[in-house]
């Protein structure tokens, strides 16, 4: 038996597959990973501190920069905490519009996830397909909010503005088209032998560990725990909508990937229902008046929603002034990333790339 010497390999912060500025310090034995340490914080912008000097409305655009891939859900998570704090209710049509954009946002996120995951596995085609279709959804968002990434659309009291003319038709056409696009990805990727070789049986995380590490979202459902905040602790109008919670019990990365594919289809289904409701319902999308300087009474609220990456929570404490006293963000990427060393122990460095891709983090969300 030959003896090998362990060495340290530094991956990142500037590296093709760390999806941003994350640094791994790997203890390696040849190509096998013995131990992983992560060095975070290169993108730390102190959002929680910034919040303390902004008014409640001013902080909404900052939430876009958290997980800059799915800004809509970030907007909503913060907004919901503020609304809970101040006891604001939003017209039902507004809630349906929020659900519609959030679910489309989830599809955008999962498309980007699929693309980057396979880009890390050196398949450069899926990301192009995904960007083609993501573009169409971003066009819709642009017509609503004027921005493609940082929307600032959902805000306390409702949304920025009612839907523009022709929005319903455009959205309906897109919702009709997207299933065939998702089928196209599935045809290209799901049964590919090499992809199965690369993804099956690695990055195992059993349900007990997954719960214990605080892993949430598709990562948790890939470990066979059927939990979705939209279903189990419903917010907005999700309790009126019909959708399935996609769960698989294989606990490996392939299962987690398939869950995302299924979730895209479920999100389309939800979006259709929401679109029908927007068309059917009459009335405004926002509360009639929402002041710029807004002083909620003393108190605190914690809202958590099912963001595309997992459980996104905002804990807001008010001291009765126009600034939040404290905003604490529970970001899904941060908590999901914590389980990574467990998942990659003993795997090859090529697997690190795959497992890291499947965790689906956004560094803006990790470092805040």
């Amino acid at each position: 038996m030959t003896e090998t010497e362990e060495f340290t390999l530094n991956v990142g912060p500037v590296h093709p597959s760390t999806h941003g500025v994350l640094r791994f310090v790997l203890r390696m034995d040849g190509e096998t990973i013995k131990d992983t340490e992560m060095v975070l914080g290169q993108l730390h912008r102190g959002l929680e501190k910034i919040a303390e000097s902004r008014s409640y409305l001013q902080f909404v655009p900052y939430t876009d920069r958290l997980d800059y891939i799915s800004g809509m859900t970030n907007n909503y998570a913060y907004t919901k905490a503020v609304e809970d704090l101040a006891g604001i209710t939003v017209p039902r049509r507004g809630e349906y519009l929020r659900v519609l954009v959030m679910e489309l946002g989830r599809i955008v996120n999962h498309m980007l996830f699929t693309g980057t995951l396979f880009l890390d596995l050196a398949a450069s085609t899926p990301i192009m397909y995904c960007f083609r279709d993501r573009h169409n959804i971003l066009e819709l968002f642009e017509s609503l909010s004027g921005a493609r990434i940082t929307f600032n659309y959902i805000r306390p009291g409702g949304v920025r503005g009612d839907i523009p003319e022709g929005f319903i038709d455009k959205t309906r056409a897109l919702l009709k088209e997207l299933p065939s696009r998702i089928d196209e990805y599935a045809e290209l990727l799901n049964d590919n032998e090499i992809i199965k070789m690369r993804l099956k049986g690695i990055g195992m995380l059993n349900p007990k560990d997954a719960i214990n590490y605080g892993v949430t979202g598709p990562m948790l459902r890939g470990s066979g725990v059927s939990h979705d905040i939209r279903k189990d602790d419903p917010y907005s109008v999700y309790d009126e909508l019909d959708f399935k919670v996609c769960t698989r019990s294989e606990c490996d990365t392939y299962a987690r990937y398939i869950i995302r594919m299924d979730e895209m289809r479920e999100s389309l289904h939800i979006a259709e229902q929401a679109l029908d409701a927007i068309e059917r319902l009459q009335g405004p999308v926002s509360t009639s008046y929402f002041p710029r300087i807004f002083k909620p009474a003393r108190g605190e609220s914690y809202s958590r929603i099912e963001a595309p990456k997992g459980e996104l929570g905002f804990y807001i404490v008010s001291d009765g002034s126009e600034h939040p006293y404290r905003v604490k963000i529970r970001s899904p990427s941060f908590c999901n990333l914590m389980a990574l060393p467990q998942m990659v122990k003993g795997l090859k460095i090529s697997d690190l790339v795959a497992v890291f891709g499947i965790v689906d983090i956004c560094l803006g969300d990790v470092d805040r």
Partner: protein
Amino acid sequence: MTQTIYDNIVYLLSLVGISFGDSIVPKIIIVLLIAVLLLVGVALMVMFFTWMERKVLGHVQVRRGPMITGPHGLLQPIVDGIKLLTKEDITPKRADKWLYFIAPLIVFVPSILVFIPMPFGQGAIVSDLPVGILYIMAISAISPVGILVAGWASDNKYALLGSLRAVAQDISYEIPMVLTVIGVVLITGSLSMQDIVLAQGEKTWFVFLQPLGFIIFLIAAIAEMSRIPFDLHESESEFVAGFFTEYSGMKFAFFFLAEYAHLFGISAIMATLYFGGWQGPLIPGIPVVIMSIGWFTIKVLAIVFFTIWLRGTVPRVRVDQILSIGWKVMIPLALLNLFITGLLVAGGVL
């Protein structure tokens, strides 16, 4: 005796009334001319491949590829070349200077040398070595040395790990490749590339006589060319750029050229061994030399197209999977192929 490029040039010169008896100087000039011709030819092909790769991959991925420089971006490779040549050439502080300098050459030179016994067309061969295919296999086995040297000399962990991967892969796939080539040689009874082409003219393309051998050769060839799904040489999502992580400017350009020259070389070998080389139906009125070179080019381009198509379709295989496919599947199959071919040849069937 086969006609070579040299013979043809002498013949052409004699047609216009120039002949030079036994004097050595014109001969050397002609030989140098052929060397330059070969280099330029390979360089042009490489440039075309880079353009083709971008265009084909672009269209596979629902985009258009380069469109700005020249018609359909045809001048893109030239612009790329200028960019590469004018970039700063950085040598890391702690690198082994001499090895760092020489490694691109060790990789690049063999990738050009393999073209010497390559029959590009009827009468278009630099030198019809009697041991042609053996020579090619031997020469192309040198480049892993250069890769290892490059990885070691860079003093970079990514480069070292990448080069070790690359060498492991090259060595494991060289064996099945050579074993399948023996099958072809058994049928032909000669190691000369020209003879292999001619034998396919008499019988049929060896891809039909050696289907299993061809599949093994194809997979091994993709691994040798270090193309996706077997592009461990680069593995950019893990090791940034593999063994040439630290290289820049001209030295990087050499690796780049070598990679595509390798792609050309192995596609040419595949076309020669399995698709009848330059053989193809002739159109009356067009000189045989041009027709045969045309057929050869078409076949090579078809193979290159296939590899690009493959790149657009599949991801990379993991390192241990590549090696286990190589040793546990490819080599036994190659031996089986050799055994069957041997039996058939001995029985007089082939």
